[in-house]
């Protein structure tokens, strides 16, 4: 009886090690893939939203494999909250930059004044800029919603979600 419990604990620990090692190995690749999806949205399916979700998924995987504390070492709650705002501020900021340069809101064509590109390519770059903004916000918000739901609002207890 006692031995059986001990053995099952050992198996659990062992499985835990496998899970942790595998996650440690694949999380960087997931994040790289997320960045690729954001940056390559012009040429293939994807974009800020999908890439942001994949980045968030890598953090969620970290929470599942380790615990919330381990994930918070990488991204604290404060940084998360700031990132939530940063994304939308990047988006509106690019839009307002266009207004300052004398065009309508979000009219990236005008960015050719400050970018070394013609109007078409500055539109393309403008799209990239807003996609990055979207990616930031989506990643931060998805992680924050998941943390709040998985721990019912008590991150500090380090409860495993």
């Amino acid at each position: 009886m006692h031995d059986a419990a001990k053995e099952s604990k050992m198996i659990r620990d062992f499985e835990n090690i496998i899970i942790k090692t595998v996650c440690r190995a694949i999380i960087p690749f997931i994040q790289l893939y997320g960045l690729y999806v954001i940056a390559h949205g012009h040429y293939s399916p994807g974009g800020g939203f999908q890439g942001g979700c994949i980045l968030a998924a890598s953090f969620i995987l970290m929470v599942l494999a380790y615990d919330i504390k381990e994930m918070k070492k990488r991204m604290s709650e404060k940084i998360n909250t700031i990132l939530c705002s940063t994304g939308v501020i990047i988006y509106t900021g690019i839009g307002l930059l266009c207004v300052i340069l004398g065009a309508n809101f979000l009219d990236y064509g005008i960015l050719e004044i400050i970018l070394p590109a013609d109007a078409e390519h500055s539109r393309s770059l403008g799209i990239l800029g807003v996609e990055i903004g979207v990616g930031f916000t989506v990643m931060a918000v998805m992680v924050s919603i998941f943390l709040n739901i998985a721990s019912a609002g008590e991150h500090e207890d380090g409860e495993q979600g």
């Binding site: 974009g47 939203f49 979700c53 739901i149 019912a152």
Partner: protein, 81 residues
């Protein structure tokens, strides 16, 4: 596009939807919902909506299932209907 394949997918989608709302175990309901989202995502890929399918795959089948399971973990798993 092959309409037979499309039709079979749609029928499975409807079965998944009915199962998701009628099963008594909420965790199964969450997983069935994930399967439902994933099948819809296949359907949309087949219709040529690759971006939407990608989003649905990351959101519907991925993130929202994670939210759901996180919520069920904190609440009860059984239900009466």
């Amino acid at each position: 596009m092959i309409w037979q394949l499309d039709f079979i997918l749609l029928v499975i989608v409807v079965i998944c939807a009915i199962a998701a709302i009628s099963v008594k175990d909420l965790l199964s309901s969450a997983i069935l919902l994930g399967a439902y989202s994933f099948l819809l995502c296949l359907l949309w890929t087949e219709m040529g909506a690759v971006d939407v399918a990608f989003t649905e795959a990351t959101v519907g089948a991925g993130i929202s299932t994670a939210f759901f399971i996180g919520a069920i973990y904190h609440t009860s798993r059984r239900t009466k209907d």
